[in-house]
Each structure stands twice: as C-alpha cells, then as structure tokens.
Symmetry: D2
Subunit: 359 residues, 4 copies
C-alpha cells in the first residue's frame, strides 16, 4: 500500500527557441519516391500578409516541410504606403535562411485578377518584377518563358465564385490547350473543392493543396480539426529542387487537408500500403482470427464497406493500432474496404485490401 | 487577397470507445531483439486499488504495452469487508481479456512486509493463494518453486526508508546469494532511485520500472512532465511470454521514466543508435558543415559535453529534428556527446558518437 | 534588439494529488437561487461499473459538483461471482468521504427492467435492499414510501428503443397519474433526447441530465467536444440536501450537456441574464455604436436571428467577450436574439434581449 | 447496463476568426480601482519585430489586455533596406484598429543605447521622430517635454549586463534626481529581476512587466509554464487613457509573470483579498473545522508557513478550491500564511490572513 499526497520535483528545463525544433511528419515514402511535404502558397507583409518573410521559413521548418514558395500578390500591395514595391523582396530575403534550414525554396508569385481567370501562382520563376504588367496571357507567357509551373488557386473561392462551385472558363481551357496550366488547388486554407479532382484527372494536371496563409500558421491551423496546414505531398525521385520540379510537372502529387487525402490512385494506393500494416493473427479459434492493424502515419484511416465476416467499419487513428476480428477465410483472401477519407475523384474513394501477415 | 471571417463546416465524427485505439509507442527495437513495453506492478480493488482488473488491460492496450502483471497485495486487502479474499481473482478475470487484446499477461502478486525485506513482487507464479503464509523466506521459496522472477519494489520508498536512500539488508543479500532475487525497481510511480543502478550492476539483476498504479493511469500520468507511465523495456528475442521471461532473467531491460532512460550500456547504446540518425551534410562551405539530426523515438535526447567545433549542447526532442552546424573535420571523425538523460549507473551517463551520413 | 536562443529555468513544482483540487464551475446563480451542479446517475463495481465508489466522490470534487447519487443496478450485478450482493454498499462506503468533501450525497439505485418501463432511478431512498423484489409497481411504491424522487432514465436509448425516439407507455402514464414519476433524463452520457423536453413540460416533471458513468469520467468526457460531463443544474434555495430535494420535486432544473443548455424559460432566461452582460458603448460615431458583450459562464452562447442594424449571428464563447457593432437605435431598444444552444422545448430556443449599459 | 461502442455525431461548427474572441482574464479589481492588464513593450517590422503592427492589437484583444504600447527601436531598424524609416508608423497604423477594439493605445518608442544607460521606453509621447537624435539626455528631455513616462527596460539583460544583476549607474541616478525615470522592468519576456523591486521601492518608481515580443505571442508564451505573457497590472480609477497615465505615474502597478505576482503590499494585499475567499465551515466535530478556500483568479496561490493546527502549506491553483482542515481556534483568529509566489521586495513575500466565513 502507498499513501501518495504531495511530491516536490526540481525540474531542469531547457527551452529552446521555437525554431530550433522540427517536427517529424509521418507521411511515408512510397516505392521509388520520397514524399516531399510542400506548401506553395503563402503571403507576407510584401503583399497582404501580416508577417516578415523569415517567419514563413521558421514555420516551415517547425512543421517539417521540405519545400515552400512565398507567393505575394503582384497586383495587391496592401502596405504600399509604408513598404515600397519590390516583387522579388521575399525571395531575396529568404535564400540564405532557407538554405541554412535545409528547406527547398521555390521562387513564386501570385497573379491576381478577377474571375475569370481569378488568381494563379507562378512557381519556379526567376524574376517576379517581369510579371508586373497588364495583359494576363502576356504575364503567363512571360512566366512560362522562365520555366514556370502555373497553378490555378482556389477556383471555388466564394469571393470570386459565389456558389462555391469551381468552373473552367474559356481562358482556363485556352491555358490548358497551350500547356500553360499545370496544377489546380483542390485545397486552400480551410476549404476544399472535390470537383477539382475531376478537372485535374481530365486534363492531366497536378492536384495541389496549400495554406494560403496570411497570418500565423500555428494560430490559423490549431483548432482540434486542423492539427496541420494543408500540404501538397509531392512524390519525387529525391529531395532536390530539380526532382521536385520534375515530379510536379509529372503530376505526382496528393493533397493532405485535415483528415483527408486527395490524389489519384497510382499515388495514394502505394501511400496507403506504406502507412497501414497488418500483423500476424495472434489468435485463431478455428473459426475466427484476431490480428492487429497498425497505421504508422499521421493520416487517420476510415475504413468502410467491409465484407461479411469482417468489421463493417474500422476507424484507424493516426499512429495507432486496432484489433481486427474476422472470419478465418481472410487468412487466404484479402478483406476489402473503402477508405472513405482518401478520395480519388469527386465521386470515388480508395479501395484497399488488407490481409494478416503470414505466420 | 482574401477576407476570412467565418466558416461553417459539417463534420462527421466517429468516436470509438477509448479502448478501441492503441497508441504506437516509438521506442525502437535493437539489433537481435524486439523492445517490449511492460508494466509489472499494478493494483485493483482486490487489494488497495480503485478499479476492476479489466481496466488495467484496457489501459495497457491504449498505452501500447506488450506485457503486464497485476500484482495485488497478498497481505493488504483494503476492501475485504465487501470483497472476499481470492488472491488469484485478477488473474482469472483477465486471461481472456488479455488474450483478445494481444497483451502478454504475467501472473503476479505483491508480498508485503515491513522493511526489511519491504515489498516484493513475485512474477510468473502459478498460484498466488499458496503465497499467503507467515514466513517470508518460505513464501519466496514457494514462489521460486513456481518459477517466479522476484522483484524488490521501491527500495527507497520513504514510508519504509525515511531518508529515501535504498539499502540492502541481510535478507536481501541472502536472497541474492540463493538466486532468489532477479530485479529491483529503479523507478516506481513518480519516484526513481539512482543507486539501484549500482545494486543491479553489482549483483547482475534486472533494472525494473513500473507504475504501481492504484488509481487511473490517464489521471496519474497526465501532467506535462508525465506523458507516459514508467515502463520496463525488455529486449526479448520475440514477442512471447517465454521470450519475455528469458530476457527478464537474463537482465536485458531498461527503464523509461519521464524523460529518463536507465539501463546498462549494452542495452541503451544500441537503443540510442536505433533512435537517433544523422543525415547527409546539406551544406558545406569549406570550413563548416550543416546536417540534420533526427530522433524518431518518444524519448527526448539531451546531448551535452560536445567537442570543440560542434555545439556544446543539443536538445533533441522526441520525434523531432535539429540542425547541427559543425567543423568540417567531423566528416571524418565522430562528434562525441554525453546523453545526459540516459543514465548507465548512479554516476554515469551514456556516451554517444554522431557522424553525418556519407554523401 | 535581443537575441534569444536558449534559457534555463529552475522550476519548483508542487504537484498535489489530483483529488486535492476542485475546479470552479462558472455556471452562475440566478436571483433567489443557488445553482447546484449535480449528477444523479453513476455506477461502480457493485453493479457494472469499473471503479470503487470513492472514485465517484473524488471525480465529483474535482469536477466542482455539489451533489451526486451513486445508482448501481438492483437487478444487474456483473461482478457477483467476486462481490457479494449488498445494494447499500456504495452508500455506506461513501458517507464519510462525501461529508469530508462537502458533497451532498443522495442515496439512490437503478431499477432495471426491459422497456416498458425501462430503467428508472430512485433517488433519496433510505434502503436499496428493500427494492430488490419482483413486481415493478411494488418496487416503485416502496421507493415512494421512502420519499423517493423517481427519474426515468435514457428513454431514447437504442438498446431498448431501437429508433431512438422516446415514447411514453401505459406504465409511465400510470406512474405520472399516481405522482410516482418526477423527472426524465433529457441527457444521458453522450446522448440527448429533445422530445423529453415536451414530456416534462406537459407533465410538470424535472428535466434531468446525468453521466451514467461506468468507467472513468476524465476519460469518457475528455474529447474536445466534451469538456465536462452532463449535469443536472438544480436551482435551490440553498446548498443543502433538503433544499436540493425541494427544488427537484418543484422541477427547478436545467441540463448542461456539451455546449447545450436545456430547460424551461423561467429557469434558463435568468441564467442567460446572469451569464451575459453588455458594456457601455465605447464608440459612437453618430450612426453606429460599438460595445462589448461578455459571457462569464462556461456555456458558450450562440446568438442567431439578429435584427436589422445588428449582427445577424454572434458566437460568444465561454469566458469571453466579443464586440457588437450596432445601429444607434439600440441605445434605446434591445437587440433581440435567439440563443440557438439554449433549448426550451423540442421546437423552441430561448429568446434573449441585449442592450448596452447606460453611459 | 449499457454497451457503448461507437457513436456518430453530426457537429455544426462555427469557427470565427481568431481575433473575434477575447479571453476574460480573471485578475480582479481592488477596492477603489479597476485592474488594467497592460503590455508596454513590443516590436513590429518597423524595427526588429517579425509582424505588422495590427497583429499586436489582435493579440492584445484576444489576450484580454486593456492597454498596450508598440515601442519600436528608434536606433535599430533591421529592415531598413525594405522599409523606409518612419518612427511614427505603427502609431499611425494602429489608431483606428485599437479604437475599434476598445484597446487603450499608448504611443511609445524604445530608446536603444549600450549600458549605461541601456534601453528605455518612452511612453505617452506625441512624436517619436523628434527622439531620433544623438545626445541621450537630450532625447529624454524631449520625451519628458511631451509628457512621457520613462521606463528602464530589462536592467539585468545579460547581453548588456553579463552577470544578470541589475545595477544603477550614474546616468540612472541623474535621471531619477531630475524626475525623468518613472518605472523599471521587473519582468521582460521570460526573465525577471528581483532586485528591481528594491530599486523601485527606494526610488518610488512603478514596477513594470512586459512581453518585449518580437515574434508571435501565442508561440512565445505557449509552453505549460507560460500560459500568458508578462503583464503590468495597473490599478486605475477607471478604464481610460488618462486614468491609466495617472496610475502609472502614481506607481500603482504590479507585475504578473508566469505564476508570480510582484508588487508593493498596498497593491498586492487587496488583490489577494479580492481573489481568495474562504467559505463557512461545512463540518465541525468539536475539535476541528473543515472549510473551502476558493481562488477565483488566474493566479495560483502558494501558501506556506502555516501555523500549528492548520496545514503547513496549501497549493491553491487558479480558478479552484481546496479544503482546509484546521483547529477550531481558527473560528476566532485568522490562519496566517506567506504567499510564496507574491513577492513584495527582493527578500519578502506577502503575508496573508485567512478566516472561514461566519456561519
């Protein structure tokens, strides 16, 4: 027996500056590729953001990101009265900071027009000042000339598309026809647009997801439902700027938004298999088997539509295991599920097969 | 630009019963062994605990434990007025529950005397009732006859050892001489006793750490400084009861208590190497190199005593990376540190060597 | 300027046992009455609960409750194999504990039948053993003879009412006719039943809300959406057992469940006025006024249906202020809102009037 | 009995922008005065801070502050390459924002020199540009001419005072002699300097405590030990700029830093009495009485040095109650304690008297 009432501990605490520590993000690599965690849409005081550019690298480092692009508006400089125009300022300020934090910095900017065409990010440009001109297609052509990846931003944003439904206009079709559009935001800040999945599939564009942060990441994405900012996962041959660019143009991406993953089957199916593993049956009573199913990733997995003789639904939280109790036949054939939070187009979710490990 | 004021989300929440989900504990395996997370000291309403035995298995499942022993007192049944004596009750109640949760259940009990000899747990017994007798050495002999592993509990507990300093008495030396003592608690609930490391080293005993929980694990170990209960890590050939027993008698253990790991070098050195990895230099300016150091485990690592040309101290939180900026000579020779929170005896901490991965 | 990298603090922590500290619950008194926070439905190892009775008093103390009743099932003793029947055990065990914690302990039990009549709690009884008999109405009559308050539990519980819709059966009408039913659970554990509001209104019964806890309160009600257990708020003349009983029989209750408050207007309207206060206008530009609205309670207030010239909706979190910007006419007439999370029957919510304080 | 496995809730969430909600800070008023929560030291991109000035008002609103001053360095404009010098910029940018949030905005700046004199804030100035000149005493004289309150900042800051011990130099004595110094920072960011209490007492200066924030408040003060930024509590006749100024010059302040309160007895003694109340004895066995002690404030109270027949030490967390069990004699005489976390000079803590309420 023990009585325990009160104890006193002398605690030596070493608190490092917040930026000293980088979170390990558990979004696994897939066969042949490393999974780069990226955010290609963010603002600073050089347009309508609230922070100095270095804050964006500090946040990216802490959040475990591999690559970012600071994309201030060309056409909207809210603080012009105090901060003179310099479209390349953030890029110049950040290069050393990013290099010393091992963050891949992509030069970018946001081209900001009414809808159509709306807002578009030009990524991998070399000079933002050259994009400060009138004609929209001229601007895009200039960016393309610099090797840019063009991303259409938040196509269902209600300030520009009051019903919230993303729609392609002639200008977008024209851009696609010329090869001048390469990705569309499925997810932006707190919103996502399922129809973008179909647009990307039909036009072979990359699915993108970004924070579009103006304020502070830790404040904007701290509510229980947002433990992380939206990210574009890029499946790249290696962790370099060149491999990142190749993968983006090749469309090897998925979007991690809240507890949702959106991507094409060829990308998200191997991701699921890398994240979720089944153990050996630890009990077998001749009719039924018991085995553990473990999700080592930061993405919860919601399995639904289970077959007869297996659980109809399995909620498999991030970094957790559950026990599956299933009919003995599933020693020889996989249990099939729909992963209801991994969507593959506006109308489909990932199908997954699960089998206990062989004894 | 975007104005963002208010948004409404329809959220579909599936909340499973708490016991449905098992936390993945990131305490890595070491070469040749799996690292079993264990708690060999806990109580229920059958002695002076506050919960029904099944709660202990539910908690163990959620906490990611591999093996537990419920060890109610033989001699102290606080609730006898309402619950008749049955020393084997918890064992009988828990067998099916533990089996269906894939938890290794070790039958145990606490032999409860004044100091000396104090309190001792007999683990791997087969009948607790047979230990309900007067003579202390007789009780131990009976347990040994059942194949028991004998653990001396909280030797520095102030209720029995007012100055808090653990001391061997004749009876303990006698037990050791006969081979009747196999482990000592370095850690118990919120306390730990550094001198136990030396007792264990000198007598080739296993270092043990347990919760000695009477109330509720999630309440007792929830303060910021206690994100997990104290655990005995057992380095076993496989995850079976037999392999667990072999490893315990062989003394292949370490104790995880708060942010502290205590164990002998042969066990904690490979643990450190499994947990901490250095990346390739991502920058090299001819004089200095930059590389990431990543701790994938749940144990923070406090590195101190760094050499010239490297950081004097590095605080490497759990599941995090930091950047090391060091002299170029450390491409060819390791940076040496003391890991100040991994202790190897009452007076020493682990020495570790770190080198960036080859390019 | 300051560089800040690393600091070391020596921290002296005094951690008291969890039970030593009692949370202040900010649910204000109303004119003429103190607001007692109560839970009249909970279980222990003496029926199908998982904890010893004293845990219930410890939890109540920490949660800031004023009164509780432990209501083990008469008819369902899951642990009978190990714990002999004693329907009054919890009551006997808890009397001194509750007295020394300043908790009003109400003797109670749960009468456990199929539907109809379902499960009912008899509160303020004097001997639970006398209720262990066959005939249901006989049992109720015996309880009534002891002065009992009879509460119908979870009338929409799906195990007994598969469609989840609470319905009165003949036996319930008969009980009401005889004056043998005094309250109905609007809320039980994680569920609530809006139709119970109408049943209580039509039959002049008390609206009740309870945890029906079997496991551990801090685990069951810890998810972000459940920061507290369901409680019956009782508006009593003073904080005594007698005043509590008088108020319950008089039906002066409301139920606090998650972010919902359910009660009749005569009780919840003064509650709202005690919780929410408007400051003086701190700005007045001749057309528009600005003033703070402060909610000092633990219940968030969701105001909707605002009039022209005032915000259409106001979300006023617990223990927080917001700024209201409204037409100047609201210096002279109140702004009217519906409080959408304070419900007064199955189809109505509280109407509230707000006016800035006079300058 | 109830089986509870899984439930599904449809949750309608309305998440407001972070700035919409203002925390109620429970630091009570004292007789004759309102307790204003203030921060008089913070930076923006106009010197070496990382955020736009409006962020400081947003943060202050959320944190429940009453008054702030943005005090960018005159002499250190880290971002001059991109942001032209305008010492009054933050003041101009913030006036409307602060007015519409009901925050008292004090114009201020930081005069930034080596030690001595170190760094000083001039508060309540009318033109910061006029302070951009060479001679230190000349600058102070100009500020004084504008009616400034002069605060000496972080006198023990190690970058300027390597041993961390605050010391008065001739220049400081000269300033005091002329009436040109009015307050000293006892607390700055994560540090505090007990000796400042004595300097303030001996020279009749106000004790000040401020965040000196350069980055983001919610990130810098989020660790468990810092749930709030350091604040200067000002005991003012009313919540106006004029009353604030009067109270500051009169020295009616205290500093809230972590779990510490520092102030002179005439201010902190009434604060303690406003925060801590004792209930009536709820039990009296003829020898001993039991009563509740409630702390309704956000400051924990650590009571030590209790007399015979009462608890030696009482830990009374914020917004909580504990039970005091004391000798019956304390119905007639107060129990005396030292409040070890309310310090009144470098060597003394507050003495407090506690008596149960009369029955």
């Amino acid at each position: 027996m023990k009585t325990r009432t009160l104890f006193i501990a002398i605690l030596l605490m070493v608190t490092l500056s917040l930026t000293a520590q980088r979170r390990v993000v558990n979004m696994p690599d897939i066969p042949g590729y490393v999974t780069l965690k990226c955010d290609f849409h963010m603002h600073t005081v050089f347009s309508d953001g609230q922070v100095w550019p270095t804050v964006r690298v500090d946040e990216a480092w802490r959040d475990g990101l591999d690559a970012i692009s600071v994309t201030d508006h060309i056409e909207y400089q809210q603080k012009k009265q105090y901060i003179p125009t310099d479209h390349n300022a953030a890029w110049k300020i950040l290069q050393n900071t990013a290099r010393d934090r091992n963050i891949i910095l992509v030069q970018g900017t946001e081209i900001t027009r009414g809808m159509p065409p709306g807002h578009l990010n030009a990524l991998f440009i070399t000079d933002a000042d050259s994009l400060d001109r009138e004609g929209f297609m001229e601007v895009i052509e200039t960016a393309i000339g610099q090797g840019a990846f063009i991303q259409w931003n938040h196509p269902g944003w209600k300030s520009q598309q009051p019903d919230g439904i993303p729609r392609m206009y002639d200008v977008h079709r024209e851009m696609i026809a010329r090869g001048w559009m390469h990705g569309i935001e499925f997810s932006n800040e707190h919103e996502f647009y399922p129809l973008v999945m179909d647009m990307c599939r039909d036009n072979k564009l990359a699915v993108m997801g970004n924070s579009d942060i103006h304020g502070v990441i830790s404040e904007e994405f701290s509510a229980p439902q947002y433990s992380h900012r939206p990210m574009t996962l890029v499946f790249a041959r290696e962790r370099t700027a060149a491999a990142l660019k190749e993968a983006l143009f090749a469309g090897r991406t998925a979007v991690w938004h809240g507890d949702l993953l959106a991507g094409f089957e060829e990308n998200v199916a191997p991701f699921f298999r890398a994240a979720v593993t089944a153990g050996k049956p630890f009990r077998d009573d001749g009719k039924t088997i018991w085995f553990e199913l473990t999700n080592s990733s930061d993405l919860p997995m919601e399995l639904t539509g289970g077959p007869e003789g297996a659980p109809a639904a399995v909620s498999l939280p991030a970094r957790s295991s559950v026990i599956i109790k299933a009919d003995r036949r599933y020693l020889d054939e996989p249990v099939t599920y729909e992963v209801s939070n991994i969507i593959t187009d506006s109308n489909s979710v990932l199908k997954a097969e699960i089998m206990p490990a062989a004894n």
